[in-house]
């Protein structure tokens, strides 16, 4: 019983680390820029399939493939922000139509992937998929540990970028007060464009992590919508440490639910957290 509990918590923490990789892009776009990018999970699945293609056809390691795809996702994100800005943000219509726009993108990406790859589950091969490390009784599967480390490095680098570089600080400034930025003669939409492009770029690495952890088919992105938004809201929207804590919390809760009640119930956990947070404390755990 105790061993089971310890294993469930360790697995939950590893899972939570991976959830941080999935949510960090949304913490940037939704938390800081106030762009409710519903399509974020769809971009992660797109990332998974690009990594899959690179891995199967060219034998590239999944994590390396994720890094190789970063520029492509950056350009994609930049293009989507341009459309979003000119069609919705500039007109002040982001609420209804912007949401419908992202919902449409989510749907188009999913159906397009189904048309190209079919509905079969796809997986990658890498030396670290299979073996496990053992610390005492706790099992650390490498296919969970590698995504965990990739995720922590990615979140850490982004945090450094935001707090140390000029552009990073400008992104933080936009998230706080973009009128003030205009008065400093900086165009907020240029900074927002960079930030949104980075947020989509994280989907490439998150997609690599996802396909290392589990086989992927086009429609599993939907399972992540509730999860990523729950994590970002629970984490207090823009804060990375808050998001990391929330991701770990939800990871552990899901892992405990899966161990003691069965894995088919775990999608309900994140939703429960989301509703509770919205009802009781919309500012999140570490909200401003």
């Amino acid at each position: 019983m105790f061993g089971l509990l310890v294993n469930a918590i360790v697995a939950g923490l590893l899972l939570g680390g991976f959830y941080a990789a999935v949510s960090v892009g949304l913490a940037l776009s939704f938390g800081m820029l106030d762009i409710a990018n519903l399509a974020h999970p769809a971009f992660i699945i797109l990332g998974s399939f690009i990594v899959y293609t690179l891995n199967i056809d060219f034998g590239v390691d999944p994590v390396v493939a994720g890094v190789l795809a970063l520029p492509f996702f950056y350009v994609l994100g930049s293009a989507i922000y341009q459309i979003y800005y000119y069609s919705f943000e500039r007109r002040g219509e982001e609420a209804l139509r912007g949401l419908a726009f992202f919902f449409g993108i989510l749907f188009i990406t999913e159906v397009a992937l189904i048309l190209i790859f079919g509905v079969d589950y796809r997986f990658v091969t890498a030396p670290y998929i299979g073996p496990s490390l053992y610390i005492g009784n706790a099992e650390l599967p490498l296919r969970m540990l590698v995504p965990f480390m990739v995720s922590i490095v990615m979140v850490g680098l982004l945090q450094l970028f935001l707090s140390k570089t000029f552009i990073g600080r400008a992104i933080l400034a936009v998230s706080q007060d973009d009128l003030a930025l205009k008065l400093m003669s900086i165009r907020p939409q240029r900074i927002k464009n960079i930030a949104f492009a980075i947020s989509i770029a994280t989907a490439s690495l998150a997609g690599a992590c996802l396909i290392i952890i589990q086989p992927v088919e086009p429609s599993i992105g939907r399972d992540y919508i509730g999860r990523v938004f729950a994590i970002v809201v629970l984490g207090g929207m823009g804060s990375f440490p808050g998001m990391l804590t929330a991701a770990m919390l939800i990871g552990v809760m899901e892992s405990l639910t899966a161990t003691f009640y069965g894995p088919s119930w775990s999608p309900a956990v994140a939703f429960g957290f989301l509703l509770l947070t919205l009802a009781i404390r919309p500012a999140g755990l570490m909200g401003r």
Binding site: A36, L38, I83, S87, F88, R91, E93, A95, L96, R97, L99, A100, F101, F103, G104, I105, F107, I108, E110, V111, A112, I114, L115, S219, R222, D223, I225, G226, F229, A230, V233, S264, W265, P267, A268, A270, F271, L274, L275, L278, A279, P282
Partner: protein, 324 residues
């Protein structure tokens, strides 16, 4: 368009409905009823979505969830007491309205975006619940035996068609009645500026809750006859994302400002899809709907109605100049 009081409007809708019902007797092919049912179902769904989405400006992405609540309520009712279908429709509407009330109470006090996210997640969680619930068939699905004939001795599919026709008429009358009522004006102020509405004394939360419950209940009612229509229902077809995409795309393409927009969008899009599913694959067909929706939202935000009104205005302007 001249103003028609709601009473007369409903009378006209009732007459048109009866006329369509009798005209459908001329159809000799059962396929007409099968296809017509789907088109009418989307008329109800699109109109219901628009009560919250178009009039109030709150986006509901969980339409498939509300729809499936209705469908699965009917399955439960059928398994428990095999009641007449109309009773199942009422119960399905009630259950969906109840879920709408609960969700709305938790999330409608916040910004609209949180409501939208919560509805999207709701559909997924409801699907998890139904998949784990063996009484309604779980992941394996459930078979419902469709009776041979309806209560008036016609083939059952014709009965379903007429029921859905009546539901569409009810939905359109409700939507139109809201537009020209105190409720509708209240909802419009929420859409345009919620803070100002609150300051002016509009009971925003209560109005939003009424709109959510009405919209959810109509979706549940549209879903209740589904098990009898398909005769085999499993979670992935009941919660099909196509329902969600279509019932959002239709009002946005038709135009969200009045009852006419969802009607135009639903009839147009659903008819095209009925033809296209036969000729091309259904996945490609959905891809096209998604692309059209994104195109309309970015390029023609007021839908077909908006394009039409702009055309009329552009034509009128030179005439006015001549008169002056």
């Amino acid at each position: 368009m001249p103003y028609v009081p709601t009473r007369y409007f409903c009378l006209i809708v009732a007459l048109v409905t009866i006329a369509i019902a009798f005209a459908s007797r001329l159809a000799t092919n059962d396929y007409f009823f099968f296809a017509g049912y789907v088109v009418l179902q989307y008329v109800v769904m699109a109109t219901a979505w628009n009560i919250l989405g178009g009039y109030t400006g709150y986006v509901n992405f969980g339409t498939a969830g509300f729809f499936a609540i209705g469908a699965y309520s009917a399955v439960v009712m059928h398994k428990l007491f095999e009641p007449p279908l109309i009773a199942s429709i009422v119960v399905g509407g009630f259950m969906a309205g109840l879920v709408g009330l609960g969700m709305g109470y938790l999330t409608l006090r916040l910004r609209g975006v949180f409501f939208a996210i919560a509805t999207l997640a709701l559909a997924i969680v409801l699907q998890t619940l139904v998949t784990n619930w063996d009484f309604v068939g779980g992941a394996r699905g459930v078979y419902i035996i469709r009776p041979e004939t309806g209560p008036f001795g016609h083939p059952y599919i014709q009965y379903l068609f007429v029921l859905m026709l009546a539901l569409s008429a009810v939905a359109i009358c409700i939507a139109r009645a809201i537009e020209h009522s105190k409720l509708g004006y209240g909802l419009a102020t929420i859409r345009d500026d919620e803070l100002a509405a609150e300051a002016a004394g509009v009971p925003t939360l209560r109005l939003k809750l009424i709109a959510t419950v009405l919209s959810g209940a109509l979706m549940g009612m549209a879903g209740a006859p589904l098990p009898y229509y398909v005769t085999y229902l499993d979670p992935s077809s009941g919660f099909n994302l196509a329902f969600a995409v279509n019932s959002i795309a239709m009002p946005l393409i038709g135009g969200t400002s009045s009852w006419l927009g969802p009607l135009i969008g639903a009839v147009l899009l659903a008819t095209i899809q009925q033809i296209a599913t036969v000729t091309i694959s259904s996945a490609l067909n959905l891809l096209i709907v998604g692309v059209i929706m994104v195109a309309f939202v970015t390029i023609a935000p007021n839908g077909i109605l908006g394009l039409f009104e702009r055309g009329v205005r552009a034509r009128r302007r030179p005439a006015e100049k001549e008169a002056a």
